[in-house]
Symmetry: C2
């Protein structure tokens, strides 16, 4: 049998994904598995996260951004844990309708971000599904042995710091569903574009991973809403947190929308898809961490502190805010 014995799946992988697999250990995606030589004296940090069409993204989102979002969600987890990316595996379930143009753009977006963040494709699995298209990524990062920054290790009296701005993506997805909200919220077209883009494409804080690893006592990726994710960190660390709601960093579009509709404070603080990092650190580490953040051009904001007790309280004018629910959940 010297006839062509490559399956449609083999051909698809060869055409769209093999060009991305430049690492020696990926074996050009022509083996059962990949090989990874871990740096000596280090731990690997392992995370898996994925997206399903119609659940985590809109079916008409640009395929390159679907790929980039799926990878960036995992990169955000690695950054929060203080880990430098090493590579990733891709499991993709395609539908009958997935065409060459979609795949080509998807692979291009994936490659662009794999190179941008130094996180190469090592291997994967491709299937057809009768359900919605889904993309599941498993990413690997590296920290010094024992050095993964955990949720459970905050100490009372730590400062609480958050990267970037909070709530943009939660407004963005609302706008995506109902464009008339833009006028209600008194947003200029460019403000609306900013919020839509923040939903479409997270900005993982990979450039801060090393500074987080050096300075944070505890850390969590903000993907399900600041309030809920901070509550998880507090629960894991058996501590309370007191947050000054006025200090939570908001973009200009978010501040504009909040001024027009003050009830949006709940959306901002409990909506998902921020892909920022909230971390705790000892007060004496704050200067070093600020300098490191400034050096890589990522804004950080001190929003509160940890204390003995339980629960994360957001205070406004000295009074605790109450929310219907703490987290956005696709579940």
């Amino acid at each position: 049998m010297t006839s062509s014995d490559e399956s449609a799946e083999d051909r698809l992988i060869a055409r769209y994904f093999r060009p991305l697999a430049r690492e020696a250990g990926a074996f050009a995606l022509a083996d059962d598995a990949a090989a990874l030589t871990p740096p000596p004296g280090c731990d690997l940090v392992l995370t898996t996260d994925g997206v399903i069409a119609g659940v985590h993204f809109f079916p008409d989102d640009p395929p390159q951004d679907v790929a980039r979002k799926a990878l960036r969600m995992n990169l955000s987890d690695l950054a929060a844990k203080g880990a430098k990316p090493l590579g990733f595996l891709l499991a993709v379930a395609l539908t009958k309708e997935t065409d060459e143009a979609w795949l080509s753009a998807f692979a291009r977006g994936l490659d662009e971000d794999a190179q941008r963040y130094g996180c190469p494709l090592l291997g994967g699995d491709t299937d057809r599904t009768p359900g919605p298209l889904s993309v599941s990524i498993t990413a690997f990062g590296v920290v010094p042995h024992g050095g993964m920054v955990r949720r459970a290790t905050a100490r009372a009296g730590d400062r609480i710091v958050v990267t970037g701005t909070i709530g943009d993506a939660a407004l963005g997805v609302k706008l995506r569903g109902d464009a008339s909200l833009g006028a209600n919220w008194r947003l200029s077209p460019s403000m609306q574009a900013h919020l839509l883009q923040r939903y479409l494409l997270p900005q993982p804080r990979t450039a801060l991973a090393q500074a987080i690893q050096h300075n944070a006592s505890a850390s969590i990726d903000v993907s399900d809403g600041l309030a809920g994710d901070l509550a998880k960190l507090c629960r894991a660390s058996a501590l309370a947190a007191e947050i000054d709601a006025e200090r939570v960093p908001l973009s200009e579009p978010a501040r504009t929308a909040l001024a027009a509709e003050p009830a949006l404070i709940e959306t901002l603080l409990t909506g998902g898809d921020d892909y920022e990092v909230v971390l705790t650190l000892s007060p004496d580490k704050l200067a070093a961490f600020s300098a490191a953040a400034q050096a890589v051009g990522i804004a950080i904001t001190e929003i509160g502190r940890t204390q003995i007790g339980e629960g994360a309280r957001f205070l406004k004018d000295g009074k605790p805010l109450t929310f219907t629910r703490l987290s956005y959940s696709h579940f």
Copy 2:
């Protein structure tokens, strides 16, 4: 906010999957990521494979077996690469209909095999999907540095050896779809049960991984049919293979069915889901490998040899068999 702030997803994970996460680096599934300390001087072997309801398994398959099959598919890849299992990540997309009984049985099956094969749960991701239930597993194994057994490294004149028996699962899935075939193939009820079980639950050759690592020049997991997978090994190694079709090891039920319907030879040699290993080794390694296989109670059979040229030829009475296609593909 000291009210309950755990999501439905958190509760589900805590209830069904946390009991499985006994490894320290799993952090009781209560962190963004897992940590893995690789053994010094080793490479990690990384693989990902999954199952989708209605594509890779029947929706009414026992949930414990769905879990075990998903894990075992990955363990089979690790075994073929000569890697000892270290752990795995689980990504599961559940439907609205997935109930507590299903989840409980699924987690029980997963735990049973994780313990049986020494491959603990390290972390995961849980989602809801409007499509069919799917399970994607990423497994990690370990080999000495540079020691992953590849597809591309067979040498001319190597012996070709296969584990277990070939074709049972391909008959099993046909029987599963049409029970009347059992009578056509003159199979006793226990023979039918054997084939059905071989489809339902692969037997990964984990116990042979070390002997494969020590002795094989090249190796591939037989999951898409012996003919197609051997063709992949040949193509990767730029060699030909000549197989004596009469020597391909068949179970008694498979031999019985083949006697009743000789055309089944194609199903046996090109059907999928064997989860055996086909490997090449230098003739001087055969005795050591046989002894190692005997020591762990896994049957191995020499079926042919590699030679200069291209393509994998199956010979019967000295004449090459021709097949409509080499591999089963869900794609």
